[in-house]
Symmetry: C7
Subunit: 81 residues, 7 copies
């Protein structure tokens, strides 16, 4: 029997505890460990680093990103899930 198709928001759950990058609409990126995420794409990152145009611009501990600012989310090692 074939597997259920993967729903986008379910796949976000597979990113828990993994290193992710989060591109915001402003084109700033946040890299960190995905601690949690909800259906609005509100998410918690630990050990967060901020990048702009490929340059690190800041580092933080835990941040909570408001989901409506998110453009896309990916795994940091560029792998498929």
């Amino acid at each position: 029997m074939s597997a259920q198709p993967k729903k986008p928001l379910n796949v976000l759950q597979k990113m828990l505890d993994k290193e992710v990058f989060v591109r915001l609409k402003s084109n700033v990126e946040y890299h960190g460990k995905m601690v949690n995420v909800d259906v609005y794409m509100n998410m918690i990152l630990d050990d967060t680093k901020e990048f702009y145009n490929g340059q690190q611009t800041a580092s933080y501990g835990t941040v909570i990103i408001r989901g409506n600012n998110v453009l896309f989310v990916g795994l940091k090692n560029s792998a498929n899930i």
Copy 2:
């Protein structure tokens, strides 16, 4: 008996496992294999490549795009579905 009219969001389902391009409001495009999509046009792409002004600008593994950023979606080979 004639077929039911194709609803826009049903047609998105026909793009599963196909190579698609996704134009965002920012005019950046993401090309990749459509792994899944929901009714908000949140979608998962595998083997994602980023293009801007016709130039590839980055490549990623799996990305999850937040649907509210999407301008339009098409099949990469320019075919009608």
Copy 3:
């Protein structure tokens, strides 16, 4: 007996299978055959051509446009419906 007033979203249904132009908020236009449309103005176009400032800038097969980007829709031959 006079006809019912034509509701905006019903009139969109009358555009099915016709050649339409769709102006987006970005002022880019998409011309193609209207294959389907829903109440959010999500729509499917076949044989889509992209225009900007009156110049064709690209051509696609089927595209699915997210309705919230739409400014207005019209019949390509400038006729009243």
Copy 4:
């Protein structure tokens, strides 16, 4: 007995079959005959003419304007209703 207060969306109905102008957020105006309008201010215009900065820039047949782009609507002859 005094009349009911006129609700904004009811007054839109009084503009049916009249010549109206519709200013969009982009400051482009569309002038035409108001064929129909719904509570989101989605509206159908016939014999539509486009104006920008007081200059006509295009003419169309029937267009369907997505209501969320509308800034305001008025009668073309500057009369009160």
Copy 5:
């Protein structure tokens, strides 16, 4: 017995038939007689005059302003209500 606190949307009703100014997000102002207003701040103005940077730029009869464009509304004579 003291009066009920005045709710913002109730106070709008007190502006009916008064001369008001309506500042939009674009910083354009419309001055006119408030004929009606609903809970979304959709409103009808009669004898409307348009101002930008303190200069009158146009005059209209009745206009219907879509509420989501409104920044604030006040009485034209700068009085408290």
Copy 6:
């Protein structure tokens, strides 16, 4: 027994009849007496003064501000509540 945590929208109610400043997304500020406020942050100010970049740019009587434009609200004397 310890007090209930103060909910953000409840605290707005504590600002009634006090001198407040309201920063809008446009960075314009309105200073005045908070006459009322609802859960969308629609609010009524009396004796309103407008400031931009620390300079007073206008004064009004009562204004009704549409809540979706608000960035933040504070007490004018910089005190904690």
Copy 7:
């Protein structure tokens, strides 16, 4: 038994009475003590200081920030929670 996954909005509650920074979409930051926060990320800060480009630009007492302006929130000492 392992702990429940931490939901983003629950983690916000863990920031109560702590020193936080709040980055808004405008890239202005507000630093202060998080007095309360609700599910829309409306929040109350005490002893608020405003920063732009790393420079303090103002100080306030209590401010109430409208949640839809928030980009992200973090603990001021850059620690994980």
